[in-house]
């Protein structure tokens, strides 16, 4: 089996990662959104586990959420109601959008099996008072994690965790950098799956695998690389189907702006600081999500990637009822379109109605 296959294979049964970890008698903390610092969880010797959705239709959650709440959140809640997250020792959400805020409300009210915490991250970037406030919140969060795990988090152990995660991010960035080539070594769908697997696995393992993987794919070339180069962006995508769809229609997905992929690893923490401050700055100086103010940083990131990866067209996949991204795509679209064509699509998180999407994507690719 190639390393690539091994990594992608992890997504077939992500719970296995958890079971292996739990077998060592250690705890697992679920988290939603990158504004929850994994490093702090890890420094308390627990496994941070990204709760991703499934394309299953939503059933039980519909009696709690009105159908106009974002489908991703309803999906997570559905899984929670079904006990699919019962292996978690806690769930941490961060303050990113109304949907997640309500997930916290609902979870606390209706799901007893897993305690749920809300981490109050500011929605303002680069702002000294926001740093200060966030630092306070993170101290509280650190305390909560210490209590939950029974382990103290020292500056040294936190530093170690940060270095470990930085290494993961560095390796992923190096790997994805190869996609700048005229003929990328990995497809967009593969890249997404590698990132997702890397996010889910304990980083010690991830890093070793990534090293091998970079070596392995260096000489690889994907087939059908003569189509237009596409960048995919939008709300969370936790399933390669949409990217595969773009690639089936002849697009070559070379880059993205997703929190499950490039946004996860694009940035590094700044060295030589107090480790808590390093995390504070890391989170408030990069922007992974449309929830942050202002949006310039995200726009600049798009521009940078468009240039570096020679992107011909951008496809926005906005999850239905995901308000932050819907607003932002409307705002960005106007500006981006002056140079790079943009296709903005609304998708159901459960991926229904792909037929209509196909026509649009195909037409867009023909247009390029």
């Amino acid at each position: 089996m190639t390393t690539l296959e091994r990594m992608i294979g992890i997504l077939d049964a992500p719970e296995q990662v958890v079971m292996d970890w739990k077998a060592k008698g250690k705890k697992v903390i679920g988290y939603r959104c990158l504004y929850v610092p994994e490093e702090i969880i890890h420094a308390a010797a627990m496994l941070p586990y990204a709760t991703l959705g499934t394309p299953e239709p939503i059933t039980k959650a519909d009696s709690y959420f009105q159908p106009c709440a974002c489908e991703f959140v309803r999906n997570i809640f559905d899984l929670g109601l079904d006990g699919k997250f019962d292996f978690l020792d806690g769930l941490v959400l961060s303050n990113t959008c109304d949907a997640v805020r309500h997930l916290k409300n609902m979870w606390t009210t209706y799901i007893d099996s897993v305690p749920c915490y809300m981490l109050n991250n500011p929605q303002k970037m680069y702002d000294e008072p926001a740093f200060k406030f966030y630092r306070h919140e993170l101290e509280g969060f650190k305390k909560t994690m210490e209590d939950l795990s029974g382990n103290k988090i020292s500056d040294a152990s936190l530093r170690e965790s940060i270095d470990l995660y930085d290494e993961t991010r560095r390796l992923l960035k190096e790997l994805n950098g190869l996609r700048r080539r005229d003929v990328p070594p990995i497809s967009g769908a593969e890249a997404l799956m590698i990132s997702m697997a890397a996010i889910l696995m304990p980083k010690e393992e991830t890093n070793a695998l990534l090293l091998q993987l970079i070596d392995e794919v260096k000489t690889r070339e994907i087939k059908d690389a003569d189509g237009p180069r596409i960048m995919v962006t939008g709300s969370i995508i936790d399933n390669p189907t949409l990217i595969e769809l773009v690639e089936d229609m002849g697009g070559v997905v070379v880059a993205d702006d997703l929190c499950t992929s490039m946004k996860y690893f694009w940035y590094q923490t700044k060295p030589n600081e107090d480790p808590m401050d390093a995390i504070v700055r890391f989170n408030l100086e990069r922007s992974v999500c449309a929830c942050m103010h202002p949006s310039e940083e995200r726009y600049d990131f798009l521009q940078e990637v468009i240039g570096e990866f020679a992107v011909d067209g951008i496809i926005y996949f906005n999850v239905k009822y995901c308000h932050p991204f819907v607003y932002e795509s409307a705002t960005f679209r106007k500006k981006l379109e002056e140079e790079t064509p943009v296709l903005a699509l609304e998708v159901d998180h459960s991926l229904s109605g792909l037929g209509q999407l196909k026509t649009r994507v195909q037409a867009f690719i023909e247009m390029l």
Binding site: N95, N105, M118, Q123, P129, P324, V326, Y327, T331
Partner: protein
């Protein structure tokens, strides 16, 4: 045909008519200010009005404009304009409508009376985080400066920690500086303190007004209440607001003494949870044919209406305002909203709760179920939940809405009879 079936709400109080005039006068004033070259602000959500009044700023509020446009049945048009700009039907209709007004190439004469372009924008993420992004679009479109007040969500209940107050109050200071920078002069701290003290007075009056509404029959229902809440939401920190509320209180007290109600023979008392149909406020009168009154609506209580102002200290104006904003019932993740409704149902002898969700709202859909369960558990009072967009008339279906109301009220009456 939708347009035929809508009717304005029938108000019954003298003071609310006066308040309506005050609203028009306020926005007329904005227009005049623009003509005089004064800077105009667009703002939204729970940005503290007190500081605007203390700075003599002229502000157009995002949620208020659509209401006025909605009452004139123009919201559908402007919403469409926004959709043509590329905004999805799934984002808040208020924001779509406002953006529609903002970007429309031609404005209706009605709108022209008071809607003017901004010189800068002050936005916030309270009550709804996601929608605040719409202002970035507006700022881009009009190419004006933008200030964002980040409100941490209330995970603390009534005890907001100092560092959160400090963060929010600091941003209010930032707002004041920002306004100064853009041509509004420096802040007069005495005036600001005065504003906070007037704001405190205003809420105390509102609390008394609220008490009157507990009377059976209730002297003021939601049709009047929504207008009556205008000073609370838009005029805190002004003498005008206080004067209007003093008058309102007097009028209500008289009614209670005389035993006069919206309906003299009240059979059912209802609570409206969610945004009422502003283009068809007559729907709230519709239930009167069953002897039912919508006593109160949640909307009237955002922006401090459910707030105990005793903690406000005019000597610490920014901290007081920070506290007021952060504990507001619409600041998510707190028991505050659920508890408020729970108490209201008991104190106001509510028989049934009407919960309406609009599919485009980011905030309310998450509250419906917890509120419904809490109220039922506590008082055995049922809640009906149905879809109704408060602003987008194109989504409104009179027959379905009435069928829901009819069914709910008949069921309530049937269980009362037993």
């Amino acid at each position: 045909m939708t347009t035929k079936v809508t009717t304005p709400g029938e108000k019954s109080l003298e003071t609310t008519a006066e308040i309506s005039k005050a609203i028009k006068a306020y926005y007329g004033g904005v227009k005049v200010a623009k003509e005089e070259g004064k800077p105009i602000i667009w703002s939204y959500g729970l940005t503290p009005r007190e500081i605007f009044h203390a700075m003599d700023a002229h502000v157009i509020y995002l949620e208020h404009l659509p209401l006025m446009v909605g009452a004139k049945q123009l919201s559908g048009h402007y919403i469409q304009v926004a959709e043509e700009e590329g905004f999805s039907r799934d984002v808040c209709a208020f924001h779509r409508c406002f953006l529609g007004c903002a970007v429309a190439s031609e404005r209706d004469p009605y709108l022209d009376q008071f809607f003017v372009d901004p010189d800068f924008i002050i936005a916030t993420n309270l009550p709804c985080m996601s929608e605040s992004k719409s202002f970035l679009y507006a700022a881009d479109h009009h190419n004006v400066p933008y200030y964002f007040i980040d409100a941490p969500i209330n995970t603390w209940g009534k005890d907001i920690p100092d560092y959160a107050i400090e963060y929010y109050a600091g941003q209010l200071k930032g707002t004041l500086d920002f306004m100064s920078e853009h041509g509004l002069g420096t802040v007069d701290w005495d005036k600001l303190k005065e504003a906070v003290s007037l704001s405190k007075k205003l809420i105390l009056l509102w609390n008394e007004i609220d008490k009157c509404r507990q009377a059976v029959p209730t002297p003021m229902g939601t049709v009047d209440g929504l207008t009556a809440a205008y000073p609370l939401i838009q005029l805190p920190g002004t003498q005008l607001g206080v004067t209007l509320f003093e008058r309102l209180l007097k009028e209500l007290k008289g009614k209670v003494e005389r035993g006069e109600g919206v309906l003299d023979d009240e059979k059912l008392r209802l609570l409206w949870f969610g945004v009422p149909p502003f283009y068809n406020m007559g729907l709230l009168n519709y239930v009167e044919k069953y002897g039912a009154v919508v006593v109160k609506s949640m909307i009237e209580y955002i922006a401090g209406g459910a707030y105990d102002p005793s903690i406000m200290d005019p000597d610490k104006p920014l901290e007081s305002l920070a506290y007021k904003a952060l504990v507001d019932i619409v600041n998510p993740i707190s028991e505050n909203m659920v508890n408020f409704i729970r108490e209201t149902v008991k104190d106001f002898h509510i028989d049934g709760v009407i919960g309406v969700v609009k599919r485009s709202c980011g905030l309310l859909p998450g509250y419906m179920r917890p509120v419904k369960d809490a109220v039922y558990e506590d008082s055995g009072v049922p809640t009906t939940i149905f879809d109704l967009d408060g602003l987008d008339i194109r989504e409104y279906d009179d027959a379905t809405s009435k069928a829901n109301l009819d069914s709910f009220i008949e069921a309530l009456l049937a269980s009362k009879r037993r």
